[in-house]
Symmetry: C2
Subunit: 241 residues, 2 copies
DNA sequence: GCCGATTTGTCCGTATGTATC
DNA sequence: CGATACATACGGACAAATCGG
């Protein structure tokens, strides 16, 4: 729920941009106008606009205004910066998600796992392998590691649905920050068996460490994506923040 | 130059974190302390801290404080969100960059190029192919397209050094926003010829559209990276901004 | 369980600087 | 030069979460 004022202004402007109210390169109403439109202070509109800049929707220029640089064609792809579950992004793109659990195990982190995941050696973990289909095409194999201290009583049934929905709605774990690293790796036997890789001999791999509100890293996930359906978006800005 | 106060506070805190002044998971000084330390208003320290959150250096928690979650091991890799030239990131990682210009041409965008790059059909462009070495290993092939209307008088000599330095220092083009899309693609004959791909038959590809301060897209670049040296970092945050 | 102190989150109003036209 | 627009900075007020007594 957008109870915060700047967030509802942000969402409002975003939707106005997405529906084409402003032409590409057109200037948005000035801050002073927005202050009146939304009946708020200048700081609040500026915060909303700053969020749109971070999304790559608009660009500000001192002395001129705020320019719309949103292009619908590009914006539709698989994932934008932000933490989104597989189900969420599937539904956002009007595709049908299906998940198959390949492995559901409880393990203790040894040295090797600790080094790879960032958990301490000796941590009790759930280790889950899942195959994700989109419109019945196998696209992603996820290797999830969850810290049992935080994520209690996970089951195979939950893993077949959305684990993130369980974490947030049932366990009330607030997900705050996720550090992601993207690489390209050679395929493994598991990749080859389940994903229809064709001629490709490598995959796009996204490794992420996720922290809860208490600053505890409770999840390490390696997502192995079939290359022909993988697309990752990002908006970068030059030095000054 | 950090003439802005919040930026110097941001840089100061960032360096204090990087040098290990705070333990992992330790709380930073509270906003009130920072206000006194840096002799500024609350908004200003909050802005600096917000930038650190965006960098994945710290995490804030209402009622508790600001927690250091910086881990030096991870932070050293190739590129973090932000626009950085090849030279800049090479030097940041203490590696020796070298650039070889494979092709330097002036072209007019046809339908096909227009569709791929986002320039209008008929635009006059520079088209440059460059091979980038790091410590004498060939790692990246860049295909740059620059709009001649904006980027005037580019030469092969400039392309052998840093084009970005030329744009900023000579032409005074301010680089503001860059939309990037990452994919994995099969290798081409050019890739195979110049990059030492070994067993790999694909590459990590970063396509980017870069805008100047006037909102004009003046650059389209496709960077084709050798997979074994490619690594891309990102920090994501859950919904609220 | 309550209360008060501390800390971050949200919002407002104002002043001044700087870039554009 | 003046008007407009965004950028930076300050100060204050109240809300919400956390923690210790």
């Amino acid at each position: 729920m957008p109870k915060a004022k700047y967030d509802s202004i942000y969402k409002g402007l975003k939707s106005r941009i997405e529906t084409g109210e402003f032409d590409f390169q057109e200037l948005l109403p000035s801050e002073n106008h927005l202050i009146q439109d939304y009946n708020c202070s200048r700081n609040t509109v500026r915060r909303a606009v700053a969020a749109l800049v971070a999304d790559g929707y608009v660009q500000t220029q001192q002395g001129k205004g705020v320019r719309n640089i949103f292009q619908p064609a590009i914006q539709t792809s698989f994932t934008i910066g932000g933490i989104e579950s597989f189900r969420e992004s599937a539904l956002r793109n009007h595709q049908i998600p299906r998940t198959r659990v390949l492995l559901f195990a409880e393990i203790t982190a040894d040295q090797k796992i600790a080094k790879r995941t960032g958990f301490s050696s000796g941590s009790r973990l759930y280790y889950i392998q899942r195959l994700h289909y989109l419109d019945e095409k196998p696209l992603i194999i996820n290797h999830n590691y969850f810290l049992k201290d935080v994520v209690t009583s996970l089951t195979r049934e939950i893993a077949e649905e959305s684990i993130y929905a369980y974490l947030e709605n049932e366990l009330h774990i607030s997900i705050v920050t996720s550090k992601r690293i993207m690489t390209v790796e050679k395929m493994t036997q598991i990749d080859e068996k389940y994903l229809e890789l064709g001629d490709y001999n490598c995959l796009a791999v996204v490794s992420s460490q996720t922290y809860n509100g208490d600053g505890v890293m409770f999840e390490y996930t390696q997502s192995r994506h079939r290359p022909d359906y993988f697309c990752f978006q990002d908006n970068a800005t030059r030095n000054p923040r």
